[in-house]
């Protein structure tokens, strides 16, 4: 047994080293440093076992930023599921072979394009002189441009949905591939209409995909910053932007404490989701 593990360990050594050195170790250091305290003499932090930074999260409106981040993540994740589920249905059940390939490619592209450029482009659409305001004015529906379209929570949520929609669509498509069509046929033979079949058979069977899609989008939004920086209104914030702001005044312990809280929430959610549904299985890479 140990002998057969040797080649695997040899192959895993380099990637593991990179993951530890660039990911795990710096993040652990940040967690430890979040308990240290600020030393004005050295302009750095000194070893301590203080919860001051965590207490500071609770004051000065920081609490509301965390709440609004959770709200944005929740709303975006639900919207992505509402759009992503029908999209997955279209890709898997409705589209012909060629069209479903095109749709899959269109859903793959966003992962590898710039979130910065895509967020920025919404400014041209939602701005005072943007496409939507111009069209509405030309149609005579409004007299002067709508101001709340851009630099608002509305704009941020639209930008977030545009950025992270594929993170919901892909798990949903994968979960639909695992549904045995016979179960749907059986429901129909027993007299269920399309909507009854959806409600009683297909939606429950795609629950792992719904859960994974929700989780992915929620986690991505919780860690996002570009959309708020590009599309948010004056004073708009999200935890990662708050970390940027705290760093600007070199309040290291507070920045590290907020980071720690975000990391604990994100990894807690991902690992809990994995324990319940098995992320590895979702990618078609069975555990055995």
């Amino acid at each position: 047994m140990n002998r057969s593990l040797l080649p695997a360990l040899g192959l895993a050594a380099l990637p593991l080293l990179a993951i530890l050195a660039l990911g795990f170790v710096p993040l652990m250091v940040v967690v430890v440093w979040s308990f240290w305290s600020w030393d004005p003499v050295t302009y750095w932090i000194r070893p301590d076992m203080s919860l001051a930074a965590y207490v500071a999260i609770l004051d000065a409106g920081r609490w509301t930023v965390i709440l609004s981040t959770l709200a944005k993540a929740l709303v975006t994740a639900l919207l992505c599921l509402l759009i992503g589920w029908p999209t997955a249905y279209a890709v898997h059940f409705l589209a012909g072979r060629r069209l479903s390939l095109v749709l899959l490619a269109l859903m793959t592209i966003p992962f590898f394009t710039s979130y910065l450029i895509r967020s920025f482009s919404w400014r041209l659409v939602l701005g005072r002189t943007g496409v939507i305001n111009t069209l509405l004015i030309e149609a005579g529906l409004i007299a002067k441009p709508l101001d709340w379209l851009l630099f608002s929570d509305f704009a941020v949520v639209i930008g977030l949905v545009a950025s992270y929609l594929p993170f919901a669509t892909f798990p949903l498509i994968l979960s639909m591939r695992r549904v045995d069509p016979v179960t749907m046929q059986a429901a129909r033979d027993l007299g269920a209409g399309f909507w009854t079949m959806l409600r009683t058979v297909l939606v429950p069977l795609t629950f792992p995909g719904l859960f994974a899609g929700f989780l992915f989008v929620f986690v991505m939004v919780a860690g996002s910053s570009t959309e708020v920086q590009m599309l948010g209104g004056a004073g708009a914030s999200i935890v990662t932007v708050m970390i940027n702001d705290v760093m600007r005044v070199a309040n290291y312990p507070l920045a590290f404490a907020i980071s720690t809280v975000v990391l604990v929430v994100i990894f807690g959610l991902v690992l809990a989701g994995n324990a319940r549904f098995g992320l590895a299985r979702l990618f078609g890479e069975g555990g055995a």
Partner: protein, 268 residues
């Protein structure tokens, strides 16, 4: 497949699907259109007025050009390293039978670390260790970001390598290295190319980590971010449009054939 949705339901499903695609693609495509407009005010150009003058003007934007060169170099090194490490990680995954789920998660988890937090953590640790911010520190940050994606792509391509092929090669006296070079490598070459291009694009377009880790010479997204907030100009539209277009074309070139192959292959 049985089609019992009814016309109205089907229409609703396609409408929502189209809506999702419009939300993703309409704004950047509009930006691309605007970049061909000779006017300073953003808007779609008339067909007769199409111009590439803002693209030509890019060569005069020394700051953008220097940033682009830096970004291309960083993306190239990141892509080479990420592809190699992901290949090792994927081969290890194949060798690990019982514990592969744990290894899969270990490689995948960095994907979920927010860019701001990873950038901040790395830059703080580098700073304390006396490592100056430079191209290398950005590559360090980007490597971890690109690795999980490259890993998944290579892992998917490894599924065509059947155990029996390797066993047959072993029966004919091939050692592990020979098996890899003669059997595995040719079969997964398309996957390696895809992983390389994806990693390249992820690095090229990455912003939040580079924001913390870049040294004196910023990467393109960091420079673009500054310029976008300092009042956008047509050259910014041109640069953004060009990067978006190149990214889309690269993924389309890779994803198209890859998806075709996957569908044509045996069912999972």
């Amino acid at each position: 497949m049985m089609q019992a949705e009814g016309t109205l339901s089907r229409l609703a499903i396609w409408t929502i699907t189209a809506l999702g695609l419009i939300v993703i693609y309409a704004p950047p495509l509009y930006l691309l259109g605007v970049s061909f407009n000779p006017a300073l005010q953003p808007g779609l150009p008339h067909l007769a007025d199409l111009t590439v003058k803002w693209y030509l003007a890019l060569s005069g934007e020394t700051q953008l050009v220097a940033a682009l060169e830096q970004s291309l170099l960083i993306a190239l090194v990141t892509a080479i390293l990420a592809t190699l490490l992901a290949l090792f990680a994927a081969l290890a995954h194949m060798e690990l039978h019982q514990r592969r789920t744990a290894w899969f998660l270990t490689v995948l988890l960095p994907m979920f670390v927010p860019g701001v937090i990873q950038g901040l953590a790395l830059s703080a640790v580098f700073q304390r260790a006396g490592i100056k911010a430079s191209m290398l520190t950005v590559i360090g940050g980007h490597l971890l970001w690109a690795l999980p994606f490259a890993f998944i792509v290579i892992l998917t391509s490894l599924s065509v390598v059947k155990r029996s092929y390797l066993m047959a090669a072993a029966d004919l006296g091939a050692g592990r290295l020979r098996q890899f070079l003669d059997i595995t490598l040719p079969l997964i070459r398309p996957g390696l190319v895809s992983a390389f291009i994806f990693a390249f694009l992820l690095s090229l377009n990455e912003f939040t980590r580079a924001f913390y880790l870049a040294g004196r010479q910023n990467t393109l997204p960091v420079v673009l971010f500054g310029k976008m907030n300092a009042g956008a100009s047509p050259t910014i539209y041109a640069m953004s449009g060009a990067i978006f277009l190149v990214s889309v074309l690269c993924v389309a070139l890779v994803a198209g054939p890859a998806l075709l192959r996957r569908r044509a292959g045996p069912a999972e």
